[in-house]
């Protein structure tokens, strides 16, 4: 295991200290329990947005805390959902009296821990509503699985949900917008290499020099199938083919195209894949009106990418364009 760390058991704590020091203007980092809030929060009268999940997906979720972004983020241990007391403390700290939305990515652990936290918050008279994202088309959605995972689609979902809260929407309206994003976004990912959880010290899986894993999740879980490494164009066609077919996306749709790196993918490859994705969509008459390319939702040092497509209407576009001032995403401020 090759990592720039001191001790596998203190990675998250030390990184959080670094975040606190590097972004003191934007966020406040709390310890025991660990959570991150807006430095200027809570904002009275605004619906607060709280999310979180396992660490190792940086900049998720702390990198999206700030004006126009999340009010609080809750980092668990690496690839392990946070605990209810962390989520509760973050919820209390973020609450500005107008209710709190929990943005939960669909994993059993996250669902269970956020559920418990919501019950506890309810007992403290905080009005919490949860919205769950499950955009990963690599997983069959049926009563026979834990359901689709929440993956790359979470980034535009965060941005747009938070923008709705920032413009003053009430709790129900924010939840409605948030669910509209979930209904309109789909994602699929792939990996060239695995990643290694610090405390485990072993790669999450192994891949031969000529193999890739299609349908990978963001936790180093093995994917849907292992195949020979092919060209960028073919990889893009596989991922986007599944994405487009699923919703489905249709000729004339306006979309946000998001090519996300898994942490270890250089941006030259992401832009190359983005170009291939544009060609794929152009052939099908699907318009790309907004774009995002970069390492925004990662799996430690994994090499690979996910491609997300979000069907946009005027309101979602406006909310996507709205100002945000966070460590990982900034515009209009």
């Amino acid at each position: 295991m090759k990592k720039i760390i001191n001790d596998p058991t203190t990675v998250v704590t030390e990184a959080l200290k670094g975040v606190a020091l590097a972004h003191a203007d934007l966020v406040t980092v709390h310890h025991d329990p660990d959570f991150i809030t807006r430095a200027d929060g809570p904002i009275q009268g605004k619906v607060a947005i709280v999310s979180g999940g396992g660490s190792g997906h940086e900049p998720l979720a702390g990198g999206y805390v700030g004006p126009g972004g999340l009010d609080a983020a809750v980092p668990g241990a690496v690839f392990t959902s946070p605990t209810p007391d962390q989520i509760l403390a973050a919820t209390q700290a973020a609450d500005g009296g107008a209710g709190v939305v929990h943005l939960v990515l669909n994993y059993t652990g996250d669902i269970l821990n956020f559920e418990t936290a919501a019950e506890l918050a309810d007992a403290e008279d905080i009005n919490v509503q949860a919205v769950v994202i499950d955009d990963d088309v690599a997983v069959k959605d049926s009563t026979w699985t834990a359901g689709r995972r929440g993956v790359g689609g979470a980034i535009p979902w965060y941005k747009i949900t938070c923008a709705a809260a920032a413009r003053g929407d009430d709790l129900d309206a924010v939840v409605a917008i948030s669910k509209r994003v979930v209904a309109n976004v789909r994602t699929m990912g792939m990996a060239l290499t695995p990643c290694t959880v610090p405390h485990s010290g072993e790669p999450s899986f192994t891949l031969a020099e000529d193999e890739m894993e299609i349908g990978i999740g963001v936790h180093g879980e093995p994917g849907r199938e292992r195949t020979k490494l092919t060209s960028a164009n073919e990889i893009v066609a596989t991922l986007l083919g599944s994405v487009v077919e699923d919703l489905p996306f249709e000729r004339g749709d306006n979309t946000l195209l998001f090519v996300n790196g898994m942490g270890g993918t250089p941006s030259i490859e992401l832009y190359l894949a983005y170009n291939a994705a544009r060609e794929f969509l152009a052939e099908r008459g699907i318009e790309v009106t907004r774009s995002l390319v970069g390492n925004y939702f990662t799996s430690l040092e994994m090499q690979g990418m996910s491609i997300s497509l979000l069907k946009l209407d005027d309101e979602l576009t406006e909310l996507w364009d709205a100002p945000i001032n966070t460590a990982a995403m900034r515009r209009g401020v």
């Binding site: 329990p33 396992g54 668990g76 241990a77 690496v78 690839f79 392990t80 959902s81 946070p82 605990t83 209810p84 007391d85 994993y107 059993t108 652990g109 269970l112 821990n113 559920e115 418990t116 690599a138 997983v139 069959k140 026979w144 699985t145 834990a146 995972r149 959880v197 405390h199 485990s200 072993e202 999450s204 899986f205 999740g217 936790h219 180093g220 879980e221 093995p222 849907r224």
Partner: protein
Amino acid sequence: MSEADRTSCDAAGVVAGIRAVAATIAEHKVELTRLDRDIGDGDHGENMARGFTAVLAKLDAGEPDTPSAVLKLVASTLISTVGGAAGPLYGTAFLRASTAVKEATTLDPQAIVTALTAGRDGVVARGKAELEDKTMVDALTPAVNAARAAADAGGDVAAVLRAAANDAAMGAAATIPLQARKGRASYLGARSIGHQDPGATSTAYLLEALAAVAEKAP
């Protein structure tokens, strides 16, 4: 009496059992993580060890004086330190077990069955897993059934826990050919077949540790 004995088990006995569980989990941490790497995200051993290390610290700071209070301490500590799926599930199990034996100062074999049953029911209520979904329920349910049969047949504490541990181990092993339908392993579909479920395995180790402590009691 400060240890579990053959006919009942007081708070100290439950503490001894929990300490043994913590030791077992620490011992099998790497194995549990490896199992989870095969069909999950490679953290189950680490999660459980983190939780039970915290439990030990709490117990060292002061041992509660009823079995129910010990179980509640375990529950709240696991909930606030484990995270992931296992944290709330094991947390709920210990919480429901605690509530189920709230009034008892010692646990007789029937009380142990009651606690185990309540714990299993809590896991099912939270996680909605059915038998053969390839989860810890596949270890818990056989354990509960075997414990009840042993208690009904007049078995003592050790006999009840032994029966539970044995059938939990068999249940865990029996998850190998199953395709996961709950939790992270379900994402793998048919590729989850051929691997033993980490949560079922930790359940089996947990019950094995309790049984071993009970058997060693005077």
